[in-house]
Symmetry: C2
DNA sequence: AAGACTCGTGGGAGCGCGCCCATCTGTCAA
DNA sequence: TTGACAGATGGGCGCGCTCCCACGAGTCTT
């Protein structure tokens, strides 16, 4: 059984008594084959246990049936992980349907990021999914310039021209703040995300717009920037408490930062939600396990992954044009508010 | 810039005024090239922005410089995710060094699993990393039979013949139970993992051996099987409490099951660690965020991933023989015990 | 009955690359 | 001067596949 090489299309053709082309047609589902020939070929394939060599096929078709998912390692650290796990799950599900391979690329530093362009240039993938792009990021542009279809998770800014799938960050943040206002809170602080990312700016904009809408002045003293990590949330909370001891609520732009804020509040002896209400963003697994369970804005991460994969597939397989999609978010009220 | 096709080795050869072979030699680092020719080729490569087509190369070398990481989707659900995230991080780090691509394959069901063999047979990868294999799993054997180097995370049973990297499950579990015994506990229950997995059996064996060693009888009534999920941990805890209301400690074979156990204990009004001490296994991010913070056995997951990747690379690149490695575990005492 | 189609079929060419082997150049010893 | 040899170089070939196009056999039309 072992020892002799894998059968090629030639072997199968000989076995079935037909030409290579006919075998190729059967394998690729062309209907320009007689029932008789098709049957013989299929039999031969089964007997020989033939599997087409996709590398050889890729050489001539100039396609690989694989896409890359690029994730910056620095931001996948810590508990941001649930986000990536859910994303991968969504992406993977859709890709499996279209028999497309998923190349995972964790990018640690700039060096690896540069290398990425090259690695992608060797035509190992038909398209790229890009996560957490910063505003000034040049990678997406470079990829498009190379003619490689690209879909972003989130956008670089409001004027994004590439394909992307985004959550309704403004709407979600506004809903969170509105909820706090309705609960009678008036000094609502926010731990924002990095302001060089659209997701950070948008969630902050939602915080502002909800205040505006309710005609409650938004005090800029109540804004502190975090970096989406637990430690960043803790640090921001500390600064906020020092600056505005009278705050009665916090909207953190991520669950993980909310966890940090909770820890700092506890350390300072502030009760949640008694003294200070806390709301996060994402509804990761974390949110159900904090003490108290965290009110948060649910972001459909898995659906986001699915949509990204679907758009990319549409582009690579069917030549579809660029698409920009925004998915709705939803407030999940638990006990921290 | 766009429009004209990517340069091939031929283009570069013409540009540099040398033959294709010389370009190939330069690209692949052969030293049978004069300094002069090498310089000209390198210049041409830079000018034309040439990147070798790895698909074409793969066709002739019969290598892809890619490996697959296969993860059963069912078990990556819920909060088991930290494990996979850390594993991926470790694997990815080592692979990046050897410029190897990582194909991620989430396998949802048996159908996809069958398809996997085929997909792997198309020679898109040089080797396979396999996670959470059950004892009767035939996939590893099939892969090896196809001549595809395979490294397992964990082993199928004590007599495993394939390459694997394992944690010291017996030792870790024994250390956990020993710790509980030293704390004066005498009725130590355990929520085991699935017994059709070596990891489940081994951690249970550790529970037994620590009892034996301390000459404390191990009551089989205190054993209940879980499935590594939070809900499974909750269910097992419920059954244990009904069967043995006098238990004063629980060793859960995973952090996630420990979380479930904690929830059930709280629901029943048992205080932790006052009434019942709880110890988990893995030391995932979860463990630091439970209430109270969870004592657990640390498993070096990222190192496990690194080691797997290293072994696989040694095999595919240098023809190294099979290797079987067991990594040490370490008890991390927090407040739940 | 002969042209005009349609359908099924298969061989040749070529995708971009690495490797084998023949060729060429220069150097050194006899 | 000649032969031997090492170093440098390039062309042919083939990896396994898809696609183009030519060809034969049957069917339909006028």
């Amino acid at each position: 059984m072992t020892g002799n090489r894998r059968p090629t299309i030639k072997t199968v053709a000989a076995r079935a008594g037909v030409g290579r082309t006919t075998v190729s047609r059967v394998v690729n589902g062309s209907d320009l084959v007689s029932a008789d020939a098709r049957a013989r070929v299929l039999a031969a394939i089964k007997e020989l246990n033939y599997v087409p060599n996709s590398v050889a096929r890729g050489l001539v078709t100039n396609r690989t049936d694989a896409v890359a998912l690029v994730i910056p390692e620095s931001e996948s650290r810590l508990g941001s992980e649930p986000f990536f796990a859910a994303l991968i799950r969504g992406v993977s599900g859709v890709l499996a349907e279209s028999r497309t391979q998923l190349q995972l690329m964790l990018v640690r530093d700039q060096a690896e990021r540069d290398q990425l362009t090259e690695s992608v240039a060797t035509r190992r993938v038909d398209g790229v999914l890009l996560v957490s792009v910063h505003s000034e990021d040049r990678l997406p542009g470079m990829l498009e310039e190379m003619g490689l279809p690209t879909v972003l998770a989130g956008r670089r800014d409001a004027g994004e021209r590439l394909s992307y799938v985004n959550s309704d960050n403004v709407g979600g943040a506004a809903a969170a703040v509105r909820h706090l206002l309705e609960g009678g809170r008036r000094r609502i602080a926010t731990v924002s995300g990095p302001l060089d990312m659209d997701v950070g700016r948008s969630r902050l904009a939602g915080w502002r717009s909800a205040h505006e809408e309710a005609e409650v002045p938004a005090d800029e003293l109540l804004v502190e920037t975090g970096d989406f990590t637990e430690e960043g949330g803790r640090r921001a909370m500390r600064l906020l408490l020092e600056r505005a001891p009278d705050l009665d609520a916090v909207f953190a732009a991520s669950d993980l930062m909310a966890v940090g804020a909770l820890a700092e509040l506890r350390r300072r002896g502030r009760r949640v939600p008694g003294d200070v209400a806390v709301v996060g963003f994402e509804d990761s697994v974390l949110a159900r396990h904090t003490d108290p369970p965290l009110t948060t804005v649910r972001q459909p991460v898995e659906e986001l992954g699915r949509t990204m994969a679907r758009i990319l597939t549409d582009i690579t397989r069917h030549g579809a044009p660029r698409q920009q999609v925004t998915l709705p978010t939803e407030l999940v009220v638990r006990e921290s508010s």
